[in-house]
């Protein structure tokens, strides 16, 4: 698939921008702060309904404007779909497909698939577990948009259960009897939604792991082998072999029972601390090089290679699923040495569409020559 047309209004620094794009390589060149990244960020937003740079929508809207609008025409196997998103911070966003409104913005997920690699991705290796969970959920939603709903249901239950735990804990400490009759109900719902999300992530990691290992070996052949392993809060009661390449697929019901049992076990601690201690919201994706964890042990170069391998692995997996995602490389060539640049260029040159941003055109390897846009002073011009 590829993006044929991108139009933004009042998005980040752009009052208005209009780009006609083609399959193949497109490079956006411009000085720092001219708004190159903002343009690819808009494309990423259409694909994931989130930004790779910020967690909330407010910074996405141009200062002093009530809302931002992003329009993209996406061509998939010869058929074109027009996706329009209206981003209004603090209110529900609105979405239209082919000029027809859809009931919820998340219905546009799946129309455009992107894999975006950016300097921020170093946090995938060095940052908190939340970064890696977000990465997994993003790929999961790209593969099966249904998981956007599963995740939001899970988060809703989690919030409600947290509120209940807090008030029950407070009642206990105050010497009043805590009303725990409804906690069982929330446990049941947490386990049901949690098991669905967990099963999705485990199967995803099983499918993704070989692609990540292969990508890492290509990007950094001199380094030790890269491994990823999903670590859930189930600990020892996580079913054997699930989430590992070639292992059995995850069984939602087994996981649900395991989650329920674990919830039962930790209930006293949960009441004491007033937080939910079991479930996919506390899981992590362990990254290892050889026998050592990447976090804390990997060199700067290795960390970069690992982050790149995670993104390229996701790209290859989506491709193997049968849809060619749009590859977006935001400002990354400047951060990579010559051999990693060459490796990345090799993968990118085979993609149906690659969008690249760079401050200096010379940073982009020669294999990746194609359409070139200059971004300067609030204007974007094809050269």
């Amino acid at each position: 698939m590829y993006v044929r047309h991108l139009q933004v209004s009042d998005f980040r620094s752009w009052e208005h921008a209009d780009l006609v794009l083609e399959p193949g390589v497109t490079v956006l060149v411009g000085q720092n702060g001219q708004g190159k990244t903002n343009l690819v960020e808009a494309i990423g937003y259409v694909a994931t309904l989130g930004s790779h740079r910020v967690a909330t929508d407010a910074p996405l809207v141009r200062q002093g404007c009530p809302r931002a609008v992003v329009r993209t025409a996406v061509v998939n196997e010869g058929r074109e779909l027009l996706v329009e998103l209206e981003i209004t911070p603090g209110r529900a966003n609105r979405a239209r497909i082919n000029r027809g409104p859809v009931p919820r913005p998340r219905d546009v997920l799946g129309v455009l698939r992107t894999v975006l690699f950016a300097p921020e991705d170093l946090a995938l290796v060095r940052g908190d577990p939340g970064e890696r969970r977000r990465f997994l959920d993003e790929v999961l939603t790209s593969r099966a948009p249904r998981y956007a709903g599963v995740r939001s249901d899970y988060e809703r239950v989690l919030k409600q259960r947290g509120a209940l735990l807090k008030s029950a804990g407070a009642a206990r400490r105050g010497g009043r009897p805590a009303d725990l009759s409804t906690l069982d109900v929330w446990d049941g719902h947490l386990a049901a939604h949690g098991a669905e999300l967990l099963a999705g992530r485990l199967d995803l990691v099983a499918d993704l792991a070989p692609h990540i290992a292969a990508a890492y070996a290509e990007v950094a052949p001199e380094s030790r082998p890269a491994r990823v392993l999903y670590r859930s809060t189930l600990g020892g009661s996580q079913p054997e072999g699930v989430g590992v390449p070639g292992g059995p697929r995850a069984d939602r019901e087994v996981l649900e029972d395991a989650l329920l049992a674990e919830l039962n076990r930790v209930r006293p601690q949960e009441l004491e601390r007033g937080v939910s201690l079991v479930g996919p919201h506390r899981d992590d994706l362990d990254l290892a090089l050889g026998e050592l964890p990447a976090k804390g042990y990997a060199s700067h170069g290795e960390s970069w290679s690992f982050a790149l391998a995670l993104r390229l692995g996701a790209y290859e997996l989506l491709r193997a699923d049968g849809t060619e995602p749009v590859l977006v490389l935001d400002d990354v060539f400047a951060e990579l040495d010559r051999r990693r640049r060459a490796q990345l260029a090799k993968v990118a040159s085979g993609a149906e569409q690659v969008l690249i941003t760079a401050a200096v055109a010379e940073d982009v390897p020669e294999e990746l020559s194609g359409a070139r846009f200059e971004v300067h002073g609030g204007e974007v011009r094809r050269v």
Partner: protein, 202 residues
């Protein structure tokens, strides 16, 4: 900002559900220009809604008397009770003209974030109602018709747990699935998934 009473009115109207600042302003200026007699009628209606409306002793629905119209109606089957969250849900089910039983209004759903637990809902009254006979008949079926969202589903699960010890009682949940007149291809995965798991044989 307008001055004095007009702005007060706009602020008050703006606090109503579904009324934004622009609508509030429109309504306020409409009222300003309206006939004093019409304003009087509105004033009366507002006053009465607080003073004159009571909640039915049996089902908790809004009512003009101590027992509501549906609970008084001998033609309504007292052995089947439909449990809903709000009085407006009673109206929604009534519009179908399919349901000939009676209702029980909970007054909300389990919502710990807003501090709503079972004690804030009319669940105890439902259990009391279960153990008393109405017109010489026991309740034999409870239809749970809470909203199909996180809070409604949790409430439904809780009710099922509370009701499972009553012998001979059938507890059912409204089916959720595809809307009539819709297209299968446009259904979202969650709805379609639920419709699949709740399918019936024909």
């Amino acid at each position: 900002m307008y001055e004095g009473p007009v702005q007060d009115l706009i602020d008050e109207l703006g606090r109503l559900p579904g009324v934004g600042p622009k609508s509030a302003q429109r309504i306020a200026f409409h009222l300003l220009a309206a006939d004093p007699a019409d304003i009087g009628k509105l004033q009366d209606a507002l006053q009465k809604v607080k003073d004159g409306v009571v909640f039915c002793d049996v089902c908790g629905n809004v009512s003009a008397e101590t027992t509501c119209r549906i609970c008084r109606d001998p033609r309504r089957d007292p052995s089947v009770v439909c449990v809903v969250e709000e009085p407006k849900d009673v109206l929604a089910v009534e519009r179908t003209r399919e349901f000939k039983g009676r209702y029980h209004v909970l007054g909300g759903a389990l919502d710990p974030l807003s501090g709503v637990g079972p004690d804030q809902l009319r669940i105890r009254q439902l259990l009391t109602r279960m153990s008393t006979r109405t017109d010489g008949q026991d309740i034999t079926e409870i239809i749970i018709a809470t909203d199909p969202n996180t809070e409604g589903e949790a409430t439904a699960t809780y009710l099922v747990r509370m009701l499972r010890d009553f012998p001979g009682l059938a507890v059912t949940r409204l089916a959720s699935g595809l809307p009539m007149g819709g297209d299968l291809e446009f259904a979202d995965e969650l709805t379609l998934g639920r419709a699949l798991s709740g399918r019936r044989s024909m």
